[in-house]
Symmetry: C2
Subunit: 153 residues, 2 copies
């Protein structure tokens, strides 16, 4: 298993992973594009992530097959004596590869990247309905100390 | 009241606001620097924020006096059809200016910036002990749909 930054060619597989999720389907993201006709907004987002040193789209690559993903955002800040923080978004493991420790490996890779980039805190939010996810992140040492608030614009 | 991007000269006042908070004090950030001897890590963080189009350090400026602050991070992503999101961090209103609607004005400014930047979601986390904050954000339309997980590195 190799963890690496996503290339353009990985985008359809990443979209498939993002769509393959009950809660995401509720957001109207059911039928993910899987071919070259990914829409312009998504290509633009990929290009922006790819060009931004503070954003990394990560894939778990199993001999050429994308089986997991997450996005890392490194944010400079004045709080905590100028500490950089890592925010993790859009964590997914392919349905047929769950329960075998891949998510844990992916998160360990994310936390290693955070340390390499000098982050002193890592954070993420997870839907309150995802009870398995809460246990998973608690096992990695995360503390549910905060409310995660969202507002659609 | 004017809301604007922070300049170098605002940094000591912003640090004072970040320090003036019971929970932050617990993190060992009790005695904020208030003069030119702000340490190098904090200046480096400020310079990085200032140079990054996806980060904005905002101040509420009342006739030259900094009385509130927050940091805005705009993050491109493939989820939700390539939607950009706003993450809000480090929201503070000076103790003697609380309860008069300034926090609400500051957040409305943040959400206006988010819309201008094409964000389709705004998010933040708030310590579960900050009960006043939960009511405040609920009043602005935020939903506490997620757990906010943190891990010190």
């Amino acid at each position: 298993m190799k963890f690496r930054t996503a290339a353009r060619a990985d985008v359809p597989a990443v979209l498939q992973l993002l769509a393959d999720d009950d809660i995401s389907r509720d957001r109207g993201f059911g039928d993910a594009p899987v071919a070259e006709d990914v829409d312009a907004a998504i290509w633009a987002a990929f290009e922006e992530i790819d060009a931004d040193p503070n954003n990394e789209l990560i894939v778990a690559d199993d001999d050429g097959e994308v089986v997991g993903t997450c996005q890392l955002t490194f944010t400079p800040g004045l709080s905590r004596h100028g500490a950089r923080r890592l925010t993790i978004e859009a964590v997914r493991v392919r349905a047929d590869r769950r329960g075998a420790g891949l998510g844990r490996e992916l998160m360990r890779y994310a936390l290693t990247r955070a340390r390499e980039r000098g982050c002193r805190i890592a954070q993420l939010t997870t839907d309150k309905r995802r009870e398995d996810a809460h246990r998973f992140y608690a096992g990695l040492g995360f503390t549910a100390s905060h409310e995660g608030l969202k507002l659609a614009l």
